[in-house]
Symmetry: D3
Subunit: 159 residues, 6 copies
């Protein structure tokens, strides 16, 4: 069984995340999406909402599970018998930060590898924070997030 974890804050999940997860699900027997409980910046959506959005958007993939975590990433991977951490790269600045995190994680547990996948060209510009900014000003979110997330964002900012 080859298992990978795909960690993030998913505040909220975007079509860019879904694209990476769908592609990873073809290469691994199981992909565990890890939703970080604590985020440095206070999240727009509650942990429960972030998990629900991810879960509904990924319900069609039988080998993908959603779990929350509140520990070191290598510890989360170990608990799920995963030997790969999947990360999506969109830009050079992602690369730099992720490179440092990957080296640090290998120092903490050499048996777990970080595997990087490139974002699809049409999602290179997409991030959770960009999506929130567009929603804040009432811009169109079509094609950027799942429909349920679009509704959630609209509710959040119409309050």
């Amino acid at each position: 069984m080859r298992i990978a974890v795909y960690p993030g804050s998913f505040d909220p999940i975007t079509n860019g995340h879904l694209d990476i997860i769908e592609r990873a699900a073809q290469l691994y027997d199981e992909v565990v999406v890890g939703v970080a409980e604590n985020i440095r910046k206070s999240p727009l959506f509650s942990l429960k909402d972030r998990i629900r959005f991810a879960g509904n958007a990924l319900a069609h993939l039988k080998n993908v599970r959603i779990e929350s975590f509140n520990c070191l990433l290598v510890e989360f991977a170990r608990r799920h018998d995963a030997h790969s951490i999947i990360k999506g790269l969109r830009a050079v600045s992602d690369f730099e930060h992720e490179f440092q995190m990957a080296q640090l994680n290998r120092k903490l547990d050499p048996s777990i590898e970080t595997m990087f996948m490139m974002a699809s060209p049409e999602y290179v510009y997409l991030s959770s924070s960009a999506v929130k900014e567009i929603a804040e000003y009432g811009g169109c979110l079509e094609g950027l997030v799942p429909p349920e997330v679009e509704e959630g964002l609209q509710k959040s900012f119409s309050r």
Copy 2:
């Protein structure tokens, strides 16, 4: 009529901004400097001050106007019949972020192009936050900001 918008927080406007605006004003019939009302980090100067500093420093350019905005950038461009958004690039990290913003804006409105201009070598190191840091410690601001901004900064930090 070829109109461009040049957006920013301008907290405060620096000689690096002025250099880009002066060069853009030669290529377009009209340049609308857009001062963002809401900034993520709380600004040092009020919107009114930020507009006044920009307005006085640019009074000699007849085809440049200052406007505040509080909406999506593409919406601001549309309101002013602008088909170009002007951005200044100083460094690779600017490039990355601006690349993503430009792609996102094209997705939101394909009729509006982001055009990038390179900072002049002598302003590559200059930013609003660097200027504030120097002022905070009483360093010399000559050649970095317009005289009126220099005074404003000194007043702010002597309080």
Copy 3:
């Protein structure tokens, strides 16, 4: 009259180049595509072929002309009364090189500005040399180059 030059070796022209030219043609009264006569690496296609491919692919744009050049780029711009040089950016490494060229060209002639446009996401990976490599191994070029260029490449590598 606002005129821009768009220089390159175009060995051969790709759909990525066409995308930039079409977008530039909406912002300028005239775009002069400058095909460099001398290229450091010996070109696959003759100057005549490179001009023909570009000309046919751009025949539908009334305000675009194709010219060859064999001089400094700023000199080429001056001859065509252009005050803008258009460059497409795909990646950070493009940015670095182009930044240096733009600064150098401003030193040689401060009245001519380099304006950068971002490649569309679907063409970020595309380059003349990538296209030649695919053709060399008989890969599929659909959607990457105009049909006439596809034929030209196939002829070149079947010899």
Copy 4:
């Protein structure tokens, strides 16, 4: 069966390559090392030597095979039923180039993913060309290449 290809010119194979291959061999059922027959720059070592050096250095890994190839990389992957292409990243400039190659390969065959692994910190500075430059001037190669390659380099440059 999860199979990955790891392509390169391996002129010659270094300890940096071996590190990536050993780590990849733990994540995949089989890793096929693809030695490119034709290289743009004329190689120092013949294809036969490059394959032999790789083969001997990897003989201890039962699920690693060495094959030469002279076709598009996606075609090579297909022939070996591989759905992953493994690439090692050392630096931002690698990232940029590899990003473009990965997007191009997905365009040519969307069923094949490029998976990136970070070089171990101690090999970040290491490349085949650096190794050849050190050998040319009689510098010490210990810890940089397998012993057999060290001998081969010394013979090459003592001629």
Copy 5:
């Protein structure tokens, strides 16, 4: 007498900082480690603790002194008759930011040079904030920070 300053927040000092300081201490007659009093983000450790950690970890180097500072960096250098500012570079994003700071400092005082040293490969991934994150989740800090800092971090997060 050739004197250099090495500035930072050192919240807390890591083995990566110590590596740079030890190497710099071989090239200069004196190295003054400057601990910044005010940091934008509120520090985990008090100024007194940050100085004590640095002082104890560097006690074996006779030509290294620890000083706090609360002024412009060039002013701090002048006060200590230093003509060099030492900075460690780990990554491209460091480079960009440091490049801008170095140019700004030269503008403020052209007699003071910023000299950059590369992080050793084994510390490229290491930063004060990474260390704090690991400590927060009870991860192993061995080899990343001096023993006294390890204790300090454990105390901080067990509160």
Copy 6:
């Protein structure tokens, strides 16, 4: 005695090189400019000319010497009792390549440090190859190279 080497091909020396050397000469007791005998690309100027240009342009600096070298850089440094290698950085791509060279050189001889200095803003765009390209097309070289080099370039390309 603190001695540094500053290596390069200097084909030809530019005002950007001179700026770095002059600044380094203030920080070291002696700076040895190392002119590489063998360059991968065939040089425009002979070794003799490259040394003469450098020597005449630097005659006013009493603690700067010009030497040619044809060995590993660390070997050249050792021969001159230098413990520092000086490198100028202009851009991110310089940084990447130089980072790898610096790590490799430390592996070859840990007692020799590479110290990086940032190019002055006005020379960030300047390189020997840019200068040759301008000369080839008869562009103006004022302020880019010493007068003697300007003459040498004009003679070269008028042949």
